[in-house]
């Protein structure tokens, strides 16, 4: 029986820039930052209250899981905001929206009451988009 997920990958255009976005803007914590040689870095971050889920910020580089043409195609798709990688949760959506907006995070949808819940959409520095929902009170 599978009991939980402990690693998930997000493909990013630049790991250094992604580090700044996820750590300094979103407030995530660095779990592992291991250098495997020039241009090869294993970088994982965790949402502050979910230390058991490592989000691997995977660079889309040739030779790193991708062949040359695949890497090029993947970079183009990510930068066109093709991929939505998940739903993040916060305690207070309006406050989190105001804070992240003040930190320069780009929202593609303002906090909105939908029939399924209260949500906003934002993009990371690469173009990956996420839903941000409010924890049920």
């Amino acid at each position: 029986m599978i009991t939980k997920m402990n690693h998930v990958s997000i493909f990013v255009l630049n790991q250094e820039s992604a580090y700044d976005f996820y750590v300094n803007r979103l407030g995530f914590k660095v779990h592992t930052d291991a250098s495997m040689g020039p241009g090869m870095r294993w970088l994982t971050v965790c949402p502050p209250e979910q230390p058991g889920l490592e989000i691997s910020l995977m660079a889309i580089n040739e030779g790193m899981m991708f062949k040359e043409d695949a890497a090029e195609q993947m970079r183009a798709l990510v930068s066109k905001s093709t991929f939505g990688f998940g739903v993040f949760e916060c305690n207070d959506l309006l406050a989190t929206y105001e804070e992240l907006k003040a930190k320069g995070v780009e929202f593609t949808k303002k906090p909105t009451k939908e029939f399924y819940g209260f949500e906003a959409l934002f993009k990371d520095d690469s173009g990956n988009w996420f839903s941000l929902g409010e924890k049920a009170k």
Binding site: A34, M36, M65, D92, A95, E98, K110, P111, K113, E114
Partner: protein, 159 residues
Amino acid sequence: MPQSASTVFPKIYLYRRVVQAKLFIDTHYHQPINLDAIADEAYFSKFHFIRLFKATYGKTPHQYLTAVRINNAQLLLKTGMPVTDVCYAIGFDSVSSFSALFKRITKKSPSSWQQAELKRAAVMKKSPLNFIPNCFAQQNGWTQNRNFQQQEEPVVADL
């Protein structure tokens, strides 16, 4: 038809003030912070400010300031900075009060927490494959780099 936040939440300006106060704490945690002054700056009475802040962040401004200071202490301790220097760098005046508070929150003294983190960083540098799920390491060809030995060879189940 979904409604925008500004029509559903006409008092959004209150959020902006609370968020600004939080961001002020985030960036000035290492200075002496007068929470009364923050409440004044946000145009709230002290009690109204504390109530709104706690409703938004689940902590009083003072509890939040303490959490920010301890989080930043952990970041500095990870760099190898001496505990005394960390104490003053995050806005504490007394090493003993800092150490006691740090231990209450993290269950470890600052020095033992630091030693554990520095040891983990050293192992990560020497044997990074121990921190990477093997499937990812293999996909990236990292397991072929003999400079980075796993501490133990994988054992496949005989099924």
